[in-house]
Amino acid sequence: MRTAASDLELVRPDSLEEALCALAADPALRPIAGATDLFVEANAGALRGRRFLDLWPLRELARIEANGDMLSIGALATFARIARAELVRARLPLLAEAARQIGGLQIQNRATLGGNIANASPAADSLPVLMVAEAAVVLQSARGERRLPIASFISGYRQTALADGEIIAAIEIPLLPEGAQRFRKVGARAAQAISKVVMAALVGPVPRVAVGSVAPVPLRLRRTEAVLAAGGSLAEARQALQEEISPIDDLRSTAAYRLRVAQNLLESFFAGG
């Protein structure tokens, strides 16, 4: 049954500095932005926390900009804006593609990239993309700023390396090496689906592959990449992938399906490549 959220408190800062101070004062505050995942939790009776920090008004965290070779996407950039942004479409089309497939337009208008990362769902569609892009998460707190590679930021099943007092401020994405960017989300239906398998890849001289929904966390498949980079066969790459992932049976699919489809996706991306 749903959570009775009657005692919810909301801190509403006017600036980033205010937000960071508030968080420093009370690390139990839970930052929220578009809040789309929050209501899913509440409805499922799994609402975490009762005191929230509303970051949405901090528009300085919503910028999408390029600093030289670095694409910087503010944590509060919504998927609707990411899907439309020329900068993203030009530099990281697979992120624009992923953004377009996350929920319906109503979700895309509220859900943010930062929120998707913070929620750290193994099925989060943006995470394999960011892993392939070797993005860094820019974290800010009253203590200052630090950067973590996305792969180490996601530290476990629905867990992140976010320290007390920290928020996700932005995501920095370096220029990708040469290659074709591929993304595919496989869900129960054509829209508004939670991924059964989601894969992003860079198909080029230095292959990169990341996959979601096949392990407690989204995975960058380093050994599979090594097999591909060394000119291994697709059969060998499929085998390497199988050894790297640990899919399970759940409400939405089976372990056998996830394995096979992840292998097929890999093959479809890299066949002839």
Binding site: E18, A19, A24, F39, G104, L105, Q106, R110, Q192
Partner: protein, 199 residues
Amino acid sequence: MSEERGFSRRKFLQGVGAGALAAGAMPDLARGAEAPEDAPDLAGPGPVPVTLDVNGVRTTIEVEPRVTLLDALRSRLDITGAKKVCDHGACGACTVLLDGRPVYACSMLAIAAQGKKIETVESLAPGGELNAVQQAFVAHDGLQCGFCTSGFVLASEALLRQNPRPSHEEVLEALSGNLCRCGSYQGIKKASGAAPGGG
């Protein structure tokens, strides 16, 4: 009832100026006490005044911060065109326009909708005369039971304002955040493709 009622918009921090702060320098805080002007607002858990601009009318209501925009519209303002179906952002029946863009009213807090222009289905035919999208839904029988209809009408309205001549694929994608169990998708698609853009 919460005894904290009355602290409707108290300040969260006291004695903490904005600016560089070392972690160790954070003073102990007593919540609810007076705070300087540049500290953030703390809302809740008791009711707080929330001013909503709905269909061109600004109304201030007292709601607890937990209250969703959907509940505020339906229960507090008696604006019931947006419907509660899944209550977790998966069906679109609660769609409203927020500064012209479709959002799920069930999945945002009322307090977060302050300062935004909120449009519900009721705004489209204020004098009773159906707007172009509504007319197209009736003409193409883009509805059956009607419970998802206001959501679809608003999703279509938002699409056509931005893109008066959408392609078939654009229509399908713009409406894919809404569910119709009666399966009136053919009529809905026709209506959304046929209505002159801009409503």
